[in-house]
Symmetry: C2
Subunit: 275 residues, 2 copies
């Protein structure tokens, strides 16, 4: 993400005045939203709206097995849904106004699980997970629905799991970007232990932010929980995106000032403003 | 300022998944910085850097009588410097990536005085004034330097002045955008009464934010005063710029959802995310 600095001359009367333009580069950060199992892209639209307000290009999409592809609900596999996510990522990064080095992925539940695995296949700078689900590695190509028929899925989510023993957790352990993990206090689907497993695996992230939504269930039935999630996500995205632009701008400004100092000496440059 | 919403189809395997893109329109808000008498555009570069980080195109420039045009220091008039400001404004608004309906002007001292008058000549949506100076209307074409030789300038700044009796205050009274006024607690050049005059005149602004920089002098000699100014300005700009984008995005989203509802009925649309 770059900031462009440029000296310009502006004509006024028969004179010319000197100006400096500072502008974000034409390419914007991209934010990819991945909904949960049984959800749809519609859930993410209001978050995407706010992220667009931060100056990001946002993409929401429906995983196969949902909405128009609901007929595949019983058969769609994790392998297929991961390919959906990769296709959506590649589409977003292929947009001419998107900066491929500034991609955020925001995943909910099953979507969070898929998002972590995406980080091993594509560059992800910022990773946000709300109530990320966890599954055994086995049955990767099997219908995702069947994973819920396995009676031990809940039991699997109630034990500490080392990062090396699970594909999503291994992905987290290898992740070097910035991570946000948001947990629901009363999550009936994703127990606290799963969140602990994710947080432990994310130990090498450049930064790690974890937030608890008080009183929230898994689906954020309560309006206040939805608002708290939106607030936590947007605060974090703001810090990441605006912060990255500022770092880029600071670096550009230092190069620019250095270049100017080499050319001119300005006696007024450090004087305080007067009257 | 607009947010673009668009439905897209993304190919994966032999299927297609549905997506929605939300992106800021290609045009960005513009921020024009006007330095004070005896200052230079260099003072504004670090604020401009932060504003660029918010996704704005920023322009700083040197008024005539300063820097490369310092030879005109003794002769330059307010009329000329206002033309400088108008020329800089027109240059900024003429950039293809700048949204002419989203222009902020940030003026310090004499630059703040000029900025208020600019609002009567060009559309300004957001107006930020730090320690705006005040002058009698007389001698508009006379050298600006001479205004300081008039012994009653300080006296003029110590009395309440009705908006209709001063060109800058009249401009404020007619201003319908959002305004920020930042005052230095111990300003040796611009007494508190001037700030009161400006605030009273800005009574019809859409929003008015005033901030006091504790312990600060006019030129912000102290580092903590500079930091406090930068913080106040950037907080306000963030609220204005990001807020305006969000309002635009919300409106776009409602139109988009309404259009989709008319076309399809989605049984999952309001279900909470599951597992």
């Amino acid at each position: 993400m770059e900031i462009r600095l440029e000296s310009v001359a502006i004509a006024v009367d028969s004179d010319r005045i000197s100006g400096t333009v500072l502008a974000p580069a034409a390419r914007l950060p991209g934010v990819l939203f991945v909904h949960g199992w049984g959800g749809s892209q519609d859930h993410d639209l209001s978050r995407a709206r706010e992220a667009a307000g931060l100056g990001c290009v946002c993409l929401t999409f429906d995983l196969r097995g949902h909405e128009r592809n609901a007929r595949q609900w019983e058969t769609v596999s994790r392998a297929q849904n991961l390919r959906d996510l990769v296709a959506a990522y590649d589409w977003l990064v292929g947009q001419p106004n998107v900066d491929p080095a500034a991609i955020a992925v925001v995943g909910i539940s099953y979507g969070g699980y898929l998002a972590t695995i995406l980080t091993t296949l594509r560059p992800v700078r910022w990773l946000a997970l709300r109530s990320p689900a966890l599954y055994r590695d086995e049955g990767w190509e099997a219908p995702k629905r069947q994973l819920h028929l396995a009676t031990d899925l809940h039991a699997y989510r109630c034990v500490a799991i080392a990062a090396e023993d699970n594909r999503a957790l291994r992905a987290c352990a290898d992740f070097r970007g910035d991570a946000l993990v948001v947990e629901s206090e009363f999550d009936e689907i994703v127990p606290h232990q799963v969140i602990e497993n994710y947080l432990a695996a994310l130990a090498k992230a450049r930064s790690l932010t974890s937030r608890l939504l008080p009183g929230a269930d898994h689906g954020l039935t309560r309006k206040d929980a939805q608002a708290a999630y939106q607030h936590a996500l947007i605060q974090w995205l703001t810090e990441m995106v605006v912060g990255a632009r500022e770092v880029a701008a600071q670096a550009g400004l230092e190069r620019f000032r250095h270049g100017r100092r080499a050319k001119t000496h300005s006696p007024h440059a450090d004087a305080a403003e007067r009257k």
